[in-house]
């Protein structure tokens, strides 16, 4: 076990990627994640690995694509507008079935927006973002320790399924400091070149081809069916969710990332007033923990979804419930982060005077 170190989120994620065996980092300046490339620029040469600052996010994601084709562990980070620029690359990477991990330190949007914390990229992250029928695995940590732990998990999932894994954190988790412990350091000397990697034909009978192109519709359909099969498997096996104080809950809050963190305090405040409320916190927002939510439908009176956006994840909560229970919403936009008390106040509006 390692010791606890006080670190900034944007730097902790970089160190976690290094400990997880990221051999190359590609990025481009954008606030609030500049500390991530800056950290890599110092550390990667120390460990004999690659840091490369691209000329744009478009270039950075395609460098990721190129490097990932060789079967190397690669990592990129950016923030909302930069992630938007990367979307074409996301789509190509999806249909080319190459693994990589990308972090999105979300800021207020749309457009240039601001550099304050937001969760407005949920739709973009979970529903595609780029063109075509594809998904990335999307992980939303709510503490720095969880962020650090999930980076290694993200690489493992990426390689297991040959898929891109996106870590969505917001500016708050990127800029705050917390003690973190790095539990494991991957021995990169043990890395083997995967069979699918394009590293030359060698003694193989066939050439290795990585592509997202098939001009014959039947061929492209086959590629799509392969992707869909992979996605169904991921939905079955890789959902991560936390249920917090749900055992005796009469109401459920649904939230991810920073809002889940705040909601935990809201729940303590509510319970001190005798209101039995719990939290369902998707850790993977894709695949989404629909079953967990559905399973609580009969137990709770209503669901209360809270996000740093106009209401995005709430659509998935409603789909999971299929009308079985009401779902209320409270959100803030523009980089405003509500306090636990504000969330409680909004939550109580739906109690109909029962707990006044």
């Amino acid at each position: 076990m390692g010791e606890k170190i006080l670190m900034k989120g944007a730097e902790a994620i970089a160190e976690a990627a290094i400990k997880a065996g990221a051999m190359a980092f590609f990025g481009y300046p954008i606030t609030p994640q500049n500390e991530t490339p800056e950290y890599f620029s110092r550390r990667m040469p120390e460990v004999g690995r690659i840091f490369l600052q691209a000329e744009s996010e478009v270039a950075a994601i395609n460098m990721i694509y190129g490097a990932a084709c060789t079967g190397t562990r690669v990592f990129a980070s950016s923030s909302s507008p930069g992630i938007s620029l990367m979307q074409e690359g996301f789509s190509y990477i999806a249909n080319s079935n190459v693994p990589c991990v990308v972090a999105n330190v979300m800021r207020g949007g749309p457009g240039l927006g601001d550099i304050a914390p937001a969760q407005g990229d949920y739709f973009q992250a979970t529903k595609g973002g780029g063109h075509g029928d594809y998904h990335t695995i999307v992980i939303a940590p709510h503490t720095l320790q969880e962020e650090v732990d999930l980076v290694l998990k993200a690489f493992d999932l990426a390689e297991k399924y040959r898929i891109m894994v996106v870590l969505i954190v917001d500016g708050l988790l990127g800029q705050m400091m917390e003690p973190v412990e790095f539990k494991e350091t991957v021995d990169v000397t043990k890395f083997k070149v995967p069979e699918w990697a394009t590293v030359g034909q060698g003694d193989r009978e066939d050439r290795i081809i990585i592509t997202s192109l098939d001009l014959a519709p039947e061929g492209l359909e086959k590629m799509n069916l392969h992707l869909q099969e992979k996605y169904r498997k991921i939905e079955e096996q890789e959902v991560m969710v936390e249920e917090y104080r749900m055992d005796d809950a009469e109401y459920a809050i649904t939230a991810f990332g920073t809002m889940a963190r705040i909601s935990k305090t809201t729940i303590e405040l509510a319970r001190s007033e005798g209101i039995k409320v719990g939290l369902i916190r998707p850790i993977t927002v894709w695949p989404f923990p629909s079953k967990t939510i559905e399973n609580r439908a009969n137990q709770v009176k209503f669901f209360f979804d809270t996000e740093l956006n106009a209401g995005q994840m709430i659509e998935d909560v409603k789909l999971a419930l299929n009308g079985a229970r009401p779902v209320y919403f409270y959100g803030k936009m523009g980089g405003i982060v509500p306090s636990a008390e504000e969330v409680l106040e909004e939550f109580k509006k739906h109690l109909g005077g029962q707990h006044e």
Partner: protein, 310 residues
Amino acid sequence: MATYQDIVSKPTPLAPGHRMCAGCGIPAIVNSIIAASDKPVIVANATGCLEVTSTIYPFSAWNVPWVHLTFENAAAVAAGIETAYKALKKRGKIKDDVNIIAFGGDGGTYDIGIQALSGALERGHRFLYVVYDNEGYMNTGNQRSGATPFGADTTTVPAGTKSIGKTQWRKNIVEISAAHRIPYAAQAAAHNVVDIYNKAKKALSADGPSFLAVLQPCTTNWKYDTALTMKYSKLAVETNFWPLYEIENGKVHINYKPKERKPIEEFLKGQGRYRHLFKPENRYAIEEFQSLVDEEWERLLKLEESGAKL
């Protein structure tokens, strides 16, 4: 010819109260360029220091029509404005002539915006593109750019025991622009307001795209005293690190030739980003810097002498 007094006495398109760093030369650059226009001006401004500090919500420091756009598309938006303007003029819906000016930093020009810039220059839109060149991504905290000079310490190419900072020479953005066969491309520096003004005048009278690169020493990330911006701008020119020159219809003309070129050390010393170069083990880098500067200057002189079209 306009004097310094004439230029600074004109109304300023950039109002006082903007939030640029103390000692920043950007306002002087922007004001003297727009002052050179005898027609109404429309400004397209890429994300960067100028945009962030001049439009902090709910305020704006701009006294001229101004549009903010993505980091990489100042030239594209300017091209769109010019196209719409031409169409409206043709249909008689607009009578006045205007000048369209795009402003971008070096990150938004040399790197992420070069595609849009190249496209707009090649298509021949009538607009002026200005890069205020502070030699790095200064708004986001001093990351290296294609404009960052050799040997500079940045947060993404940090200098240390094993590194002198950036090892590449900067791109020659003026020649890249001129290579599009545009009528006017020039290089100016923050301290010489009259030169900036004259170049902007020529650029705005050109029948087609024009390009202006203006050196903008950055007190925050070059790390020097806020009173010294103009001194460093001047030293950049007197050491031949940043020659004042123009390329008019392909022909090079150098506007200022120092009687005695100062050694590059005079420009480097006192700047925090070059402090490490003065360590005995890094002196070789200063020598290399000097020979790069001399080589480029000699090349420029030859281009001018030959009179050949670029």
